[in-house]
Each structure stands twice: as structure tokens, then as C-alpha cells.
Symmetry: C2
């Protein structure tokens, strides 16, 4: 996929049609409950109707793509885990023992692990989608994380996977990631795309101490000064201070929006991917559901920029798609309300006095 083809995908993302919100609300108001009493579940259900343009959408077939990649900036000591953990966790995902595997099983969602650029040779390992762009990004503190071509390639992978999901009958997507040090590029992206101060949006990641945190802020500042990412050109931002898995997430969101598939996003790193996607097409926000508010302080700025209200606040900061898995359960619940609740007339329940 080249940039021209990417633009074509972006052009396929349409604004949601208010008529479908109205039709959905008419149905919701006819169900055996006081009007509006299911609160945000009703909002979710109506939006899924508008996204899919189906009056009885389904959310039963659910898939979470977990994008994995390594980061050159890990060499700067910005994380308290060594780089090897990215590959080790990929094996953990494949064996079904990670947090995302457990929470996806609980949600009834498939987990599909994508090697976007892990610094490990996985040849001969089954169950992993090999989309490796390189064995880790460049060190963004010293130069661009990747070339512009690689950035487009990472977006293309996400778009391609959204298409595969559509072909395979998936009706609800989730995204997650794994990549030691990836809160660093995510903070850089957030700083560039939202203009919030670096101190405010840089967090402790997996749990660094204050000294390492100061270093992380300094590294991100250096990366932005060195690379001059252009806010008005999100592909440039992704290339200069991003990551392969972040590009995969952004691409999945663009692809899903172009195909009218709702996507539940996870926490901070997925949010950084969503910022890139929203930079390319502001309409993608209408196709997203923000599952939760992460402990990472930059996440609030991201959700504000995306105009998303998180579904939950559970103090999560694991990533992998764990929050998305929980959120997908709520989206499915909302869709089932629309499909499975009895209407007043069917159930012979009296309406409120004002309607009689």
C-alpha cells in the first residue's frame, strides 16, 4: 500500500448518519424499561446501529488484535523491563497465559497476535501473524523511529487486518499492544498531537522510579527537538516518534472505520494509535469506543482530544488489550439489549402514565 492507496481508505470513512441514531432510539424507547434508563448502554447500542447501518447489529464475533513491536529507545533505559520481555510476552500470548488471554476468554473474544517488529526471530512459530517490518524501531532520541515508508507499511498492516476481520465475519474489533518502552513513543505522539506539556502526559509506564521518569521526559523532549515531527502530517509523527505496533493500531482503526466495524480501544498506547488515526481522519472517533481511563496520565489528554468518554475507570495500566476486552463485553451487552429485550406491546407491559 502506498500513500495514495492510504488516502483512498481514508476517503472511504463516512460520517455517521443521524437517521440510524433515531431509528435505534425509537427501538430502544419501545423496550420494556423507562426511557433512557439503560444510560450509556443505550448510547452504545445506538452508535453501533449507526456505525454498522444495521437495525439489529451483532457483536457476537469479537476479535482483539495484539500488535507487538520493539523500540530502539529502550536502549536509553526508559523502562524497568528489558527488551527481551516483548518476545517473551508474545510467547506468553501464544500459550494463552497472559492477562489479555484471560480477559478475552471471559469476553468471548479471539486474540490474534501480530508481530509488527519484535526483535526476535519467530520463524517456525505457529499462531503468530508475521508482519514484521524490522527488528525494532530506531532510537527516536537519536533520529527517526522509522522511515516514512515503514510508517505507511505499519498502517497498511492494520488496514489489511481489518479487512481480514470483515471477511471472516468479525463484527466487533478490539486492539491492544505489547512493546517494552512503548509508553515513550506514545507520550511523544500525545505531546505532538495534543500540545499538552510533556510532564503532564508522561507517566510511570510499567512502574519506573522518579529518576528514570525525569530521564524519560528528557528523552522524549530530545526526540521531539531532534526529529521535528509535523503535527499536521500524522504519518510523519508516526515515522519520527512512533512505533510499529502503534502504526498497526492506527491502521486497524482506519480500516475498521472504512468498513463500518466498531472498534473498542484499550489504554494509553492504543490511544496514541487512535490519535494518529484521528489526525488522518477526524471521523474515526465516531467508530471508536474508549474502554477505560488508564492510570497513565497522558491518556486523559488523548481521550479529550478524541472526544471520548471512557466506559470504565479501573486503574488499569497493563495494556495488551486488557481494557478493550472488558469494554467489548459492555458493547456486546448493549447490542444484546437492542436485539433481545421485549417491547412493551410484546410483553403486555403498561407504558408510563404520560404515554397512555
Amino acid at each position: 500500500m502506498n500513500e495514495k492507496e492510504l488516502k483512498k481508505v481514508i476517503g472511504q470513512i463516512k460520517p455517521l448518519d443521524p437517521v440510524f441514531f433515531k431509528k435505534a432510539q425509537t427501538r430502544l424507547d419501545d423496550l420494556t424499561k423507562p426511557k433512557g434508563s439503560l444510560g450509556r448502554l443505550e448510547e452504545i447500542a445506538a452508535r453501533v446501529v449507526a456505525i454498522t447501518e444495521e437495525l439489529r447489529p451483532r457483536a457476537a464475533r469479537k476479535r482483539i488484535y495484539v500488535f507487538a513491536g520493539d523500540h530502539g529507545v529502550e536502549k536509553e533505559g526508559v523502562s524497568c523491563y528489558p527488551r527481551e520481555v516483548t518476545a517473551q510476552m508474545v510467547f506468553n500470548f501464544l500459550q494463552g497465559g497472559a492477562g489479555i488471554n484471560v480477559l478475552a476468554r471471559q469476553a468471548g473474544a479471539e486474540v490474534s497476535v501480530v508481530d509488527m517488529g519484535v526483535d526476535h526471530d519467530f520463524r517456525g512459530i505457529s499462531g503468530l501473524l508475521d508482519r514484521k517490518i524490522a527488528r525494532g524501531t530506531g532510537n527516536l532520541a537519536r533520529g527517526p523511529a522509522m522511515s516514512r515508508k515503514q510508517a505507511v507499511q505499519s498502517l497498511a498492516v492494520g488496514i489489511e487486518l481489518a479487512r481480514a476481520a470483515r471477511r471472516e465475519g468479525v463484527n466487533l474489533l478490539g486492539c491492544g499492544e505489547m512493546g517494552i518502552a512503548n509508553t515513550t513513543p506514545s507520550s511523544a505522539i500525545t505531546a505532538v498531537m495534543t500540545s499538552e506539556s510533556l510532564e503532564k502526559i508522561t507517566g510511570k509506564g510499567t512502574g519506573i522510579d522518579p529518576e528514570r521518569w525525569r530521564k524519560k521526559v528528557q528523552i522524549i523532549r530530545q526526540a521531539i527537538r531532534k526529529n521535528h515531527p509535523d503535527r499536521k502530517d500524522p504519518v510523519d509523527v508516526l515515522a519520527k516518534v512512533g512505533g510499529f505496533e502503534i502504526g498497526g493500531i492506527a491502521g486497524l482503526i482506519l480500516g475498521a472505520a472504512s468498513l463500518r466495524i466498531p472498534v473498542v480501544i484499550d489504554g494509553f498506547i492504543s490511544g496514541a494509535g487512535a490519535l494518529i488515526a484521528a489526525g488522518l481522519s477526524p471521523r474515526v472517533g465516531e467508530y471508536l469506543f474508549a474502554s477505560h481511563l488508564s492510570v497513565e496520565p497522558g491518556h486523559r489528554a488523548i481521550l479529550k482530544a478524541l472526544r471520548q468518554k471512557p466506559l470504565m475507570e479501573l486503574d488499569l495500566r497493563l495494556g495488551e488489550g486488557t481494557g478493550a476486552a472488558l469494554g467489548m463485553g459492555l458493547v456486546e451487552a448493549a447490542v444484546r439489549v437492542l436485539n433481545e429485550m421485549a417491547a412493551f406491546s410484546e410483553a403486555k407491559v403498561s407504558r408510563e402514565n404520560s404515554n397512555q
Copy 2:
């Protein structure tokens, strides 16, 4: 069950043992994730360990008791739905078409509907637990809602149902209710038990207009003045300004706590039941999980009094146990994390640098 036997049940409610929290946290910290990164899911898992005193508790068998009852105060026009709707909704529950049925199916929980005092003759109807105390309470604006003996009877039903659940292998309980006008006794209970102002804790229920709301506040004020419920005697409060279904909920909570079964509570009316239970034994709070913060303004005061932080804020105000069903999914997810995630050693994942 008489009051002496009730006191015996209350005496069986023990404080949670800190040793089990520690053991649970040791296990959680050994799982392949940064320490504490699953936030509130870890808190839930640890508390379920302490409640059950099992290091690998289960939450797979889930049951929601939906307690239904009618209210004499409905005659005062405090709701916008007619009293017949309570019985109509019971039929809807039995047919599987109500909100609680849908959300319980999504959560994989059984729904068990209990007639605590609906003003309808259900004889010959299968699938309903007949525990009818009377065909609706008395009008609390004019006198006590029920006798003290009936209040104890309603608590006894809940306790008995917790015991039945234990015998039948249920390891996670939820509660919900149906009863036209039951936000009125719930606001009365909340006012008496928390000393918050009536205006602050009285809400729109199923959606009344400002005029009816003012009438509702006045009716509740009248009920409290007329009946003099004694805050230090929660059975007296339940009898004078409560409801049969509220007593059932309070009893279920007491029974579950005495048997070390975690209970997920629903919204405002369930919260009023929890206030009665907590008045009888302040320790019950340790056995509860508050699923969500309801739109009903009094719910915040209840959760504050119970020292509970809700798991979700989804603007729900339907009742029936719908929020509890969603919350049970989160509790089960938390328990599965504890049971199913791989440990660092098993998965051959490196620990953080500080531990190496």
C-alpha cells in the same frame, strides 16, 4: 425465623482476615504483568480470596435474585407507572424478555425471581419463587409499611435464599429488584440511615416531572414524621418505611456474608437494602461489591455510607439487577486473572530490573 435467630446469623458474619489479602497479593504479584497493573481487578480478586478464604476461588456459578414487591405508597402517585407494572414485569422476567434477563445471559448468570409481595395472584405460574408476605406493603405516608414481624420475615427470605445458593454451588451472588414506587421507600431509608437531606437523595425514579418530584419529597417527609423510624434499629426502619423486596435484599446480603459468598449489589434500591444490612452488621460492606453508580442522586450517599467505590458509572437507573449483572462479569474476570494467568517462572518471562 425470629429475631433471636436473625441475631445468630448476624453473629456469624466475621471480619475478613488480612492474611488472605496478603496471600492473594503474593500470587497476583507473581503473575506475568507489572505489579498492580490490573488495578481494581486485583483489588477485587484479593477481596474474593479473603471473603471465600480460598486461594483459588471460583466465580463461575453466578445467580441474581430479583426480589419483587408492591408498595402501598404507589397510591400517592409517586411513580409514573401504575402498580400493575410490577406483576407485568415479573411475567416479563419469567419469559426472559427484560433487561435483567439479557444482561444476565451476557454475564452467564442465572436469574431467580422472588415474589416477596406483589399485588397479584401468581398461583399456577411456574419458575417464580413464591415468598409472598402480603399483596403489597401498607402506605408508608399513612402508617408503617409493614409489621416488625413481616420485616423480619422479609430478611429471613433473603437469608434462606443465600443458603439455598450455597447448597446449590453458587459462588457469586447478585441482587436486584422490581417494585413500582420503590425509590420512595429507598429514599426514606437513605434519609433515615445517612442523615442526608431529603431533597438531595430523592430522585426522579423512572422519570417523574418536577411537580411529582416535589410531591414525592413531601410524601417521604410525611412518612418519616408519621412513623418515627429508629435509625439505631434497622429492622424498625425497614418495617416503617421499607419494602418487602428491600428486606429480601438486606437478608440476602446478611446471609451471603454469614456464608462467605461475595455479593454484587445493583443500584439505588439494592443500596437501600445494603444500608439496612450494614446497619445490622457493619461488616457486610467487606462482602459487597458495588457494581455501579446510579443516576438516582441518593445512591452516592448510600455508597459513601457503605464505603464502597462503584465499579462502573454508566448512567443506569433501571434496577432489576442490571448493573449487578454487568458487575458480576468484572468480578468473574478478576477471579479468572488470579486462576488462569501464568506466573513469571512458568512463562519464562523476565521480571523487572529492580527484582533481578
